[in-house]
């Protein structure tokens, strides 16, 4: 599918949308008249050649799917208005759920289940359902209530977000704030820890979560957790914090971590302010940059991630995973070694907003969300790896997979 030319036309018109003379007023008024007569100015619809409309989203845009055959292998799950959708290489699109409140679908490696988040006004639930959309199971409920605690108003509502499966389909990583009232003594802060942290649960015993990674107080917590393929004890996530010195500048880094560290060292680690927190995560990106949304390659040897670039654009990059750095995460020498692969990360592509990269199961493509024609849509990029130089690069031009707008606040998932 070729990119629509509308954006260029809009840019040209924008240039003349700074009127300097009265003749334009007449043109505008004439446009008003024509609009009134002919009803011009309604909602845009996607009429891109080669696309098949599948639904109309809440913004009134017709969502279409590229009809070119075999652009990819496997199935890609995503959400439109927070309803689950899946598309396959034959460009068949299927709506799996209809409730309008689901986020972050994650398909179990055995192909049986979709773990996801059901969101409500003040809380969210961690659930899983069959890949046909039936048999929903509640794993963790965030429902609660507000209550008065002396002069403070508190709540027992909790957020759950971004589930990710272990390779054996028995455990899930997820984010939550359900320990928000537990950390006053450790953080030294006279406020609940609202920042989401990383936990894991066994599907057989979801009432016994394990703390996996801690948050720094005040910047919203952790995001984007996932297990490293081939390394069942390693995970990656984005860590949002403020700088320890002034606590005014955001520091957004990707962390690698051994999931057994907290469990194996009870009482050693804890969340807190940037200067007081002590966690087992080790930064693998520079504190001077803002890097987020890591995604492991299927072999677990590389990470695709998003960088907020100095120019104001966003870019997708790929770096190698530093090895043997998670056992001694707070050792200064190890901290330096962990940053080495980042320095040679390969730039893949950039755009105004690019986000949520996910690898194809064969590791040859990336799907990501890009912002074009004022909508967020799925795009595909073919990835080439040069074994001699160790560099990754994009092969050819990206291909637009959807048009009209899907949810950019829910991460897509690619499975076999």
């Amino acid at each position: 599918m070729r990119k629509k030319q509308t954006s260029k036309n809009i840019s040209k018109l924008s240039l003349i949308w700074k009127p300097r003379n009265s003749s334009l007023l007449l043109l505008l008024l004439l446009a008003f008249g024509l609009q009134g007569c002919f009803g011009i100015g309604g909602s845009n619809t996607s009429n891109t050649p080669g696309t098949k409309p599948i639904t109309t989203n809440a913004n009134g845009q017709q969502v279409g799917v590229n009809q070119t055959q075999n652009l990819f292998k496997g199935k890609i799950y995503f959400t439109i208005d927070h309803n689950l959708w899946v598309i396959d290489p034959s460009n068949n699109a299927r709506e799996i759920t209809h409730g309008g409140n689901l986020y972050d679908p994650a398909i179990s490696p055995d192909g049986k289940w979709i773990a996801c988040i059901a969101r409500y006004k003040d809380y969210s639930n961690l659930i899983y359902l069959s890949t046909t959309g039936n048999s929903a199971h509640l794993l963790r409920s965030g429902n609660g209530k507000y209550y008065q605690d002396g002069p403070y108003v508190k709540s027992t509502y909790y957020w759950y977000a971004q589930p990710a499966w272990s390779a054996d389909s028995t455990h899930l990583l997820f984010l939550s704030d359900f320990e928000k009232e537990d950390w006053y003594a450790a953080t030294g802060e006279n406020a609940p820890l609202l920042d989401l942290q990383v936990f894991s649960i066994s599907l057989n015993n979801p009432s016994k979560p394990q703390d996996v990674a801690y948050a720094s107080f005040g910047d919203g917590g952790d995001r984007d957790p996932s297990y490293r393929p081939g390394h069942p004890n390693e995970i990656v996530y984005t860590h949002y914090a403020y700088d320890a010195a002034t606590q005014t500048q955001q520091v957004i880094q990707i962390f690698l971590e051994d999931v057994t560290q907290i469990a194996d060292h009870p009482g050693l680690y804890h969340p807190g302010s940037p200067s007081s927190a002590f966690d087992p995560g080790i930064a693998i990106t520079s504190p001077k940059d803002e890097d987020l949304q890591p995604a492991f390659s299927p072999d677990g040897n590389a990470i695709a991630f998003v960088k907020r670039e100095a120019s104001g654009t966003m870019g997708i990059y790929i770096m190698h995973v530093p090895e043997n750095v998670t056992a001694t995460p707070n050792d200064p020498k190890t901290e330096q070694e962990a940053l080495i692969p980042y320095k040679t990360a390969s730039h893949i592509l950039s755009g105004q907003y690019v986000s949520q990269p996910v690898w194809s199961p064969d590791g040859k493509q990336l799907a990501y969300i890009s912002y074009d024609n004022s909508t967020f849509d799925l795009w595909l990029a073919n990835i080439n790896y040069n074994a001699k130089t160790g560099a990754y690069s994009m092969q050819g031009s990206p291909v637009q997979l959807t048009s009209g707008g899907i949810d950019a606040d829910s991460r897509p998932f690619w499975t076999t």
């Binding site: 007023l25 008024l29 008003f32 609009q35 100015g41 957020w159 609202l194 005040g218 966003m314 986000s355």
Partner: protein, 427 residues
């Protein structure tokens, strides 16, 4: 021959201009007419600071003070007769000295525990509810405006020349009309104590929880409002909030600069209708907003009466309030408003009044210090004339933005109140 051509061209132009004037009149006049010139009668004995201005232009003559009120618009207080009462969550006084071109902006916390004339001690936001029930069009309460204005005048000695009232739902509707805004949320937004005051909430003092994930995404009107209003999502307080507001303003600017917006202007005007009310005339708003856009927002003297000008506390009944620190407040407002010895802090009144939430206040007002019937002075022809004038003035002003029929200026007034920041005028 040429004379005929000239006559024909002139005729066509006349036809177009006439059609345009008619279009303006029928498209925008009903909405704009319902927004500007909404005079609210002053209380008996209340001095009218405009009386001494002798009709001077809004940007000439002595200092002017404008009260900006932002209130929710859902049905929290349903009275026995089916009418509704609302709180004013935002109370800001903007002061402009035309002689020095200096501008000040005083934000008074909604929970300020002060004397509401005729009603005793209450939170400031309750003055709007105590002043009267919402009347007629949407959720605007002229009596609420009048009592809020009177309270600030009496308690702090600040004369109020004009007011502008904003319903937060208006912001939500405008954002939805332009198709939402697309921003890169820089970090996860968490807030367990966001005011649950827009939508279907029935609890005026209720809270709701926010979790807005980071990264590029589309925000609808209600989410955009949550994103720019949350006060607990950053360690850096107002700096973080200001940065979020800039993102939304920038995204909104992109939408408003899109030619598609022409077709949506009547809808935007309609969105503002019922959610923006002011006693200023359209030409005054236009001049004021043009002036405000011309000054550096960083040069505006912005004062928020939180600590050290006040401290939080609880009443014997457990209600959270903010207690003013008069010793700190008086010098500041004396200087900002050039009040000299007229600056006051008459915040003490009779105690023991039950909070608004407890007594359905609008159903049984103790005193009616102000009239509740607005006296609308603008007429349709005046508004139509101003509409055409606004379009031509903005056209020849050569600015970056085209203020068709003053809609942009009215939108600015709404954004200024919702964001509580002068940076909102940079759209």
């Amino acid at each position: 021959m040429w004379a005929r051509v000239l006559v024909a061209v002139f005729g066509v132009i006349l036809l177009l201009v006439g059609g345009a004037a008619g279009y303006l009149y029928f498209t925008f006049s009903p909405s704009v007419n319902n927004i500007v010139g909404q005079q609210v009668q002053r209380a008996r004995g209340e001095e009218d600071p405009n009386a001494s201005r002798n009709g001077a232009d809004i940007l000439s003559g002595p200092r002017i003070n404008i009260l900006l009120l932002g209130s929710d618009t859902d049905e929290k207080f349903t009275n026995a007769d089916g009418s509704h009462s609302y709180l004013a969550q935002t109370d800001i006084v903007v002061t402009i000295d035309p002689a020095t071109k200096s501008v000040g902006m005083l934000s008074i916390p909604r929970d300020f525990y002060i004397n509401v004339p005729g009603y005793g001690m209450h939170k400031l936001d309750e003055a709007y509810a105590l002043g009267g029930v919402a009347s007629g069009n949407a959720d605007y309460s002229p009596g609420g405006v009048a009592l809020s204005r009177y309270t600030i005048e009496q308690d702090f000695g600040i004369p109020i020349n004009y007011y502008a009232w904003i319903g937060l739902t208006g912001f939500v509707q405008v954002i939805n009309t332009v198709g939402g805004v697309d921003v890169d949320v820089t970090h996860p937004i968490t807030d367990d104590n966001y005011p649950d005051d827009v939508g279907n909430s029935k609890d005026p003092y209720g809270y709701m929880r926010l979790y807005i994930p980071p990264g590029p995404q589309h925000l609808d009107g209600i989410t955009a409002l949550e994103y720019v209003r949350s006060r607990h999502a950053d360690l850096v307080g107002d700096f973080g909030r200001s940065a979020r507001q800039q993102q939304v303003l920038s995204a909104l600017k992109t939408k408003l600069n899109n030619p598609d917006i022409i077709g949506k202007l009547p809808t935007i005007a309609n969105d503002l209708n019922g959610y923006v009310k002011t006693d200023m005339q359209l030409s005054d708003v236009f001049k004021l907003m043009n002036f405000a856009r011309s000054i550096n927002p960083n040069s505006i003297n912005k004062v928020i009466l939180d600590a050290p000008y006040s401290s939080t506390g609880t009443l014997p009944g457990g209600e959270s309030v903010v207690f003013p620190n008069c010793a700190k407040i008086v010098p500041v407002i004396s200087k900002m408003f050039d009040l000299g010895s007229k600056a006051a802090c008459n915040i003490q009144g009779s105690t023991g009044n039950t909070s608004v939430a407890g007594v359905s206040p609008a159903s049984s007002p103790q005193v009616a210090p102000v009239a509740e019937i607005p006296q609308v002075s603008s007429d349709s022809l005046q508004t139509a004339s101003q509409l055409a004038s606004m379009s031509m003035m903005s056209l020849f002003a050569g600015g970056d933005q085209y203020d068709f029929s003053g809609i942009h200026s009215l939108l600015d007034l709404l954004l200024l109140t919702v964001f509580e920041a002068p940076q909102a005028l940079q759209v």
